[in-house]
Structures are given as structure tokens and as C-alpha cells.
């Protein structure tokens, strides 16, 4: 099934990043499995250990299954100063998971990330492709409730 994604790109190694992105984005669990790496390896004629090295180098790729919605809370200094640690504590309580973990219902994965480039609105988090700024504990509760309702 990964082969169908691979063949959209020319079989040269410059396309590795693009193929990895599309495979992760289209996977219901938002990750890249060992089977996917095997198929990419055969298609690009690139050793599996090289692909593994690349995909673990970039923090946006995951090698383990993740939830439907991926929360990335900024852990850089400006957000920290503006209280991101309180937001993290709130998220952990609300979701019942630690950093890097997925809720039992598979709806959320909680992650930390580096600066998202919107320090003016610190503390900041992203859920999937949406950015949420000026976070407070109440605001976080609302956001999580809304998304829960949709799933």
C-alpha cells in the first residue's frame, strides 16, 4: 500500500523526505512503520538503516503509532516564561497521558516541540495544522472539549 505513494515520486533519494511526509500524513495513526521503510527502501534503492537515520533525525516524523490529533506544545524559553509548564500540567491531567503518549481512545497524542515562531502569542501549541496562542488553562480545556466532541 505504501508503494502507491512511492510511485508518485521519481525514484531518486532526494524525494525521501516527501515520501515520508505523505506516508505519515495519510496513515490513520500518523506514523511511519518498519514495513513502510522496507517499501521505500526497495523503491529508492536506499538502505533501510539510512532511511531510519533520516526519519529519526527530524522530530516531525514518528516511528510509533499516534492518535488522530497531535498536540505539540512549545517548550522554548518564551513560552516557558509565559507559563507553558502550567499548560503542560493541565494537558496531562485532561488527557491522562504523559509526553509522547497517546490516549487510550486514540484521539490525542501529546508532544513537545521547539519554537513555533509565534512567540508574541506565547504560550502556544499546535493541534494538527492549527495554531492556538495566548493559552490559559481554561482555554485549553475548551479546545480539548471541542475536539473531543468532534471525534
Amino acid at each position: 500500500m505504501y508503494k502507491e505513494i512511492c510511485v508518485k515520486y521519481a525514484p531518486n533519494k532526494d524525494n525521501l523526505i516527501h515520501i515520508l511526509h505523505e506516508i505519515q500524513d495519510t496513515h490513520p495513526q500518523h506514523y511511519i512503520s518498519a514495513d513502510a521503510v522496507k517499501e521505500i527502501s526497495e523503491y529508492l534503492k536506499l538502505p533501510e538503516n539510512h532511511i531510519y537515520g533520516v526519519l529519526t533525525f527530524y522530530s516531525m516524523y514518528s516511528t510509533t503509532p499516534r492518535g488522530k490529533n497531535i498536540i505539540r506544545l512549545c517548550e522554548s524559553p518564551p513560552c516557558y516564561i509565559k507559563g507553558s509548564y502550567n499548560i503542560l500540567r493541565k494537558l496531562k491531567t485532561l488527557l491522562g497521558v504523559g509526553v509522547g503518549e497517546t490516549t487510550k481512545d486514540g484521539v490525542f497524542t501529546l508532544e513537545l516541540c521547539a519554537c513555533l515562531g509565534v512567540c508574541g502569542n506565547a504560550p502556544v501549541m499546535m493541534i494538527n495544522d492549527d495554531v492556538y496562542g495566548d493559552l490559559s488553562e481554561e482555554k485549553v480545556e475548551d479546545i480539548i472539549e471541542k475536539i473531543r466532541g468532534r471525534n
Binding site: A34, E48, H50, Y52, F57, T63
Partner: protein
């Protein structure tokens, strides 16, 4: 030829080629710049930063390993600032290293330990922040201990660029970065072929063989067991250096004496079965030539090469000689022929092999190598483990008086001993194949064209009655890949291989450069040990395998003739296709002749 440039290192004027790095120029002129990740055999990875030097006009120090020389460059290698830099770097490395030097396998050989000592580093200047990780014990040959790894990257370079095995990789980044196998599944679930070149180049004890020393000592001390030992060709030229003898000292008889003193019941020699291998493989080669086969015959002695072939070239498995390796031929004969000749119950025989090789541990565990009715080879010790055994037994190897081996499976020809150097199996095979084809003796037995350390060697040997025999010799798996790609291409496009007969050894330099050889196993010492084997060859009374009287005897009394029915059963094997992802068996691709 690159043009020369003028540089000054610590005030000394040097004229060096412009394509050199600073560290190469310094090494060539006897200026030692402290280093850790750099190794002259490998391309620089510039990971550690210890080799920093000051260059006039540059505000910050540069790494000598990856900075090329330039005209007029004035380089300072030693100043308080540079010494402080280096100390800090080593202190930071030690702060996430498991510092257990006295009991570490690499103690006294560890480059980190030596460097820390040379620089006067205080090991407690920074708190140790290592978070202990699980040691990878999945492989039967190689242990990978991430707690001792300093991420120098040499193992990754040798595994991927020199050997093209693609087992080890860098993963993650920053504080979380580590050297591992894909998905962290372990060496035994990767394409690792157990060649052990990673253990050779590891500057610490992070990569090492899986030791079987305790099991061997237990067998020796068990009065119910009859422990028989064999030693590979290259062992005899690799022991003396550890005991202050010159590199490349030829010491077979000291080796036998040490083994007997350690307590082995029967001291034999793998060189005997190296000669036997020539009889089996040579006969196979000659049959191939007589049949006019378009497919080549490729040697099968090197277990790293065999697993590599099964992983990357299973479509050419039928081209690989079915002859077992000398070690495995010895193993099966110890529990059949030897047991029968001496009236010993084979169930009581423990067969130990001393090998320059980590992959031999994997070979000995292959379930199909049990034609004696038992596992043919019980334990494999590397040269490094054997050296430890000699020391544990309190033997002063340099002064121990020479002794002869036991008789029956120990006599060897010069052809048998050169198996340990790249090109040696080819040369040995030609010496006997010539006779098998023509019925005449080859006059000049020295086949210089297949000797030496060039990556791929080619030669044409005229054999009257056959014509030109085209041969190739490759050592190091990156070179093997080049040869195999040409064979595959030749068969596909022209319907024939460019060569009739090919020798492949997994390790650069052949077995003298094996993954189980003593620490400090660089290209220069491999070359010296290889020459030592050729010196021994010249000094021996018998130089052709078919003249080995003990080999003639095993055929007369037991096997019949080369490639006989019994020889096929005991001395030949078959191969598998393996997964490129996991190295595990997918299916059998060649079958045993019955």
C-alpha cells in the same frame, strides 16, 4: 599528482600535497595531534572535536581531521587554550560514558581511556549524566553496549562505507542521538553479517565479541570431556605482538605450547582443513571448468561473506562453492574421523575453534552444520579472547618453549597457511587446480598477482589443456559488492561471468584483518601480518595442499576421494536467502547433494 604547498606546524616548515588534511600532514611528519574519532583507515567524521588546532588568521580553532592544508598556513597544535578545549571535550564525553575501565573488555586498549590519561582529565569534573540503556545482546557474535558508545561514528562508517552492510546507523539527534540498528531492533534483526569490523574500529568497549571463554574453560576442566582445538591460519602471526614480540612474528609452535599448557586435550590446526578445503573446492572448480560453466565458482571460507551473499546476492548462491569453511570441515571431522581413529565417543568431544573472526561464532551456530550428528563446532574464541586466555593462565608467551601439535589433523602446507591473507585461497587453489587439470606440477608456486592489499585483484593464469583461467580476488565487502555486481551484470547481458574463479573475504586484508583480531588492527598491521604468512609459506617443506600427507591419509582411511559421497555429506553445505531488513532466513536456495 596534487601540487605541494608550504605549511608550518608548530614552527616546523613542511612541504606537503595540497589535498592532504592537517592531521595527515602532521602524522606524516611525526607531529601527533591528539584525536579520538579520527582513524587513518577511515574518512573523517569530525564528531569529537578533540583534534582542534589553531590556524593563523582564524579566530576559532579548526578540526585537523577535516581541514585541508593551504599555502602559507601556520598551525599551532599545542597551547594552553587547545589543551583546555580538548580536556573539556573529553570531560563532556566521560560525563555520559559508563566509566568501568578495570573490568571493560577494552581496558588498556581503549582510545578514550588513553586520551583522558594523556590529557590529564579529571573524570569527576562533571557529574555523570548517563541514563543507562539496554545492551544489545541479540547477536550470537557481537555485543553492542550503548552505555560505552561515544558516538564517534567509526562503526557507522566502516559498516556502511567500507563494508556496505548497512546494519548500523546514527539515529535521533542532540542528547538523544545514538548509534543503533534500524528501529532499534538489534544486531540480530538487521542485515549485520557479523564481520566485526565495527569491533575493530570501536575506540572503546562499546562493540565487542560475545565471549565464550567461560564455557571453554568449563569444558577444559570437565574430566568427562575431550576438548579438541583448532587455530585459524592468521592466529599464528597475530599473537606475539601482545607480548612484546615484533608485529607479524610467526609463532605456530608457541601457540601449540600455550594451548597445551591451558589444558586442551588435543591440539590440532585449522591449516590442515585449509588444505582439505583446497582438495574439495579445487575439485569443484576443475569440474566446473571441464563442464564449460559460464557461471563462476566463488570461495566459501569467509562466514561474513556468506551471510552477505545470502542477504544481498541470493540469486548467485549457486555460484558459491558448496565446500564448508576450513573451520566447519575440522568441526565435522573431529566428531567423526578423529573420534573413530582414537576410539572416542563423539558425544564427549568438545570442539573449540580459535578464529580471527566474530562471524565464525555465527557460523558455528548455524543449525545445518551438524553433519557429524552433533553441532560440528561447539565454541569459537576470537584472537582477543585467546590472548585473554593465555594471560588468565599466566603464560608468558614470549618465552614459552616451542612444541609440536598433536598428529592426525595438524599437518599443513604453505598453501594452507596463506588462507589467512587476501588472495591466499586463490593462490593455494591454483597450485593444486593446475595439477588436477594437467597432471603436472606447477613450477613457480608464487602467484604474486593475487597478493597484496589492492581492493580487487585480477589475474589470468594459463593452464595447459584448459587455456586461460581468469580469476578475481576481493577483500572487504564493499569490494565484494563491486565484483558481484559485475558477475550479475555479465551473466545478465553476456550470459557469462567475467571470471572463472573468485575469492572473496569479508574483511579488508583477509583473515589477518579479521573482526576478532587484537586491538590496533589497522591496515598497516594487516599488511605486516599478511607478509608474515607468505614468509611462513616460503619456509615450509610442503607448499601444495595435495601433497599434505595427513590430507592424503584422511582420504585413504576415511573419505575416499575429493567430492566422494561421504565428502559431499560431511564437507559440503547449502545456502539460504535472507531478508535485507532482518537478516533472517527466508528460504533455502541451494540444496545439499546426496
Amino acid at each position: 599528482m596534487a601540487k605541494n604547498v608550504n605549511v608550518w606546524i608548530d614552527g616546523h616548515h613542511l612541504e606537503v600535497p595540497e589535498d592532504m588534511t592537517i592531521i595527515e600532514a602532521a602524522d606524516q611528519h611525526g607531529v601527533y595531534i591528539p584525536r579520538l574519532c579520527y582513524h587513518p583507515d577511515l574518512p573523517p567524521t569530525a564528531n569529537c572535536g578533540v583534534c582542534v588546532v589553531d590556524i593563523s588568521g582564524n579566530p576559532t580553532p579548526k578540526r585537523a581531521c577535516c581541514t585541508p592544508v593551504a599555502e602559507g598556513m601556520k598551525i599551532t597544535t599545542n597551547s594552553k587554550k587547545l589543551r583546555d578545549y580538548r580536556k573539556t571535550l573529553v570531560e563532556m564525553i566521560l560525563s555520559h560514558h559508563e566509566v568501568v575501565c578495570p573490568t571493560c573488555a577494552a581496558n588498556n586498549k581503549c582510545e578514550l581511556q588513553t586520551l583522558a590519561n594523556n590529557l590529564g582529565v579529571d573524570p569527576y569534573s562533571l557529574p555523570n549524566i548517563l541514563e543507562m540503556k539496554e545492551v544489545d545482546m541479540s547477536s550470537s557474535a557481537i555485543i553492542r553496549d550503548p552505555n560505552k558508545c561515544i558516538s564517534c561514528g567509526r562503526c557507522v562508517t566502516v559498516c556502511n562505507e567500507v563494508q556496505t552492510v548497512y546494519a548500523l546507523t546514527n539515529s535521533d539527534r542532540g542528547i538523544e542521538s545514538e548509534i543503533t540498528t534500524a528501529f532499534g531492533l538489534g544486531m540480530n534483526n538487521s542485515p549485520c553479517v557479523n564481520c566485526g569490523q565495527c569491533t575493530v574500529y570501536c575506540p572503546t568497549g562499546a562493540l565487542r565479541e560475545r565471549s565464550e571463554l567461560d564455557e571453554v574453560w568449563d569444558a577444559i576442566l570437565d574430566p568427562d570431556k575431550h576438548v579438541i582445538v583448532q587455530e585459524a591460519p592468521s592466529i599464528r602471526v597475530s599473537l606475539g605482538e601482545e607480548f612484546g614480540m615484533p608485529l607479524g612474528s610467526v609463532t605456530p609452535k608457541k601457540m601449540y605450547a600455550a594451548l597445551r599448557k591451558i589444558g586442551f586435550d588435543s591440539v590440532m590446526d585449522t591449516n590442515f582443513t585449509a588444505d582439505l578445503t583446497i582438495m574439495e573446492e579445487g575439485t569443484e572448480c576443475v569440474n566446473n571448468l571441464k563442464a564449460g560453466s559460464k557461471r563462476p565458482l566463488i570461495t566459501s571460507c569467509s562466514p561474513g561473506w556468506i551471510k552477505f551473499m545470502e542477504t544481498y546476492y541470493p540469486d548467485l548462491a549457486d555460484c558459491v562453492s558448496t565446500a564448508k569453511s576450513p573451520m566447519s570441515m575440522f568441526g565435522v571431522l573431529a566428531k567423526t574421523y578423529y573420534a573413530q581413529e582414537h576410539g572416542i565417543d563423539p558425544a564427549k568431544i568438545v570442539s573449540v575453534a580459535i578464529m580471527p573472526c566474530t562471524a565464525k561464532k555465527f557460523e558455528a551456530r548455524r543449525p545445518e552444520l551438524n553433519d557429524s550428528g552433533y553441532q560440528d563446532t561447539d565454541y569459537v574464541l576470537t584472537t582477543r579472547e585467546f590472548l585473554r586466555m593465555i594471560k588468565e593462565a599466566g603464560i608468558d608467551f614470549a618465552t614459552i618453549p616451542e612444541e609440536e601439535p598433536d598428529e592426525g589433523m595438524s599437518f599443513y602446507s604453505g598453501a594452507g597457511t596463506i588462507f589467512g591473507a587476501t588472495g591466499g585461497v586463490m593462490e593455494a587453489a591454483i597450485r593444486s587446480a593446475y595439477t588436477l587439470v594437467t597432471g603436472e606440477e606447477l613450477e613457480n608456486v608464487n602467484i604474486e598477482a593475487v597478493r597484496g592489499l589492492e581492493g580487487v585483484k585480477e589475474a589470468t593464469v594459463n593452464i595447459p589443456g584448459f587455456g586461460d583461467l581468469r580469476v578475481a580476488v576481493a577483500h572487504g565487502l564493499g569490494n565484494a559488492r563491486k565484483v558481484m555486481d559485475q558477475v550479475r551484470e555479465g551473466l545478465k547481458t553476456k550470459g557469462e561471468s567475467p571470471w572463472h574463479f573468485i575469492e572473496i573475504m569479508a574483511c579488508p586484508g583477509g583473515c589477518v584483518g579479521g573482526g576478532g583480531q587484537p586491538y590496533g588492527n589497522d591496515i598497516a598491521s594487516r599488511a605486516r601480518r599478511g607478509l608474515a604468512l607468505y614468509e611462513e609459506d616460503r619456509s615450509l617443506p610442503v607448499r601444495k595442499s595435495h601433497h599434505n600427507p595427513e590430507v592424503q591419509r584422511v582420504y585413504e582411511r576415511f573419505l575416499g576421494a575429493p567430492n566422494s559421497k561421504l565428502a559431499q555429506k560431511l564437507l559440503h553445505t547449502y545456502y539460504f536467502k535472507r531478508s535485507v531488513s532482518s537478516g533472517q532466513v527466508v528460504e533455502e536456495v541451494t540444496h545439499k547433494h546426496h
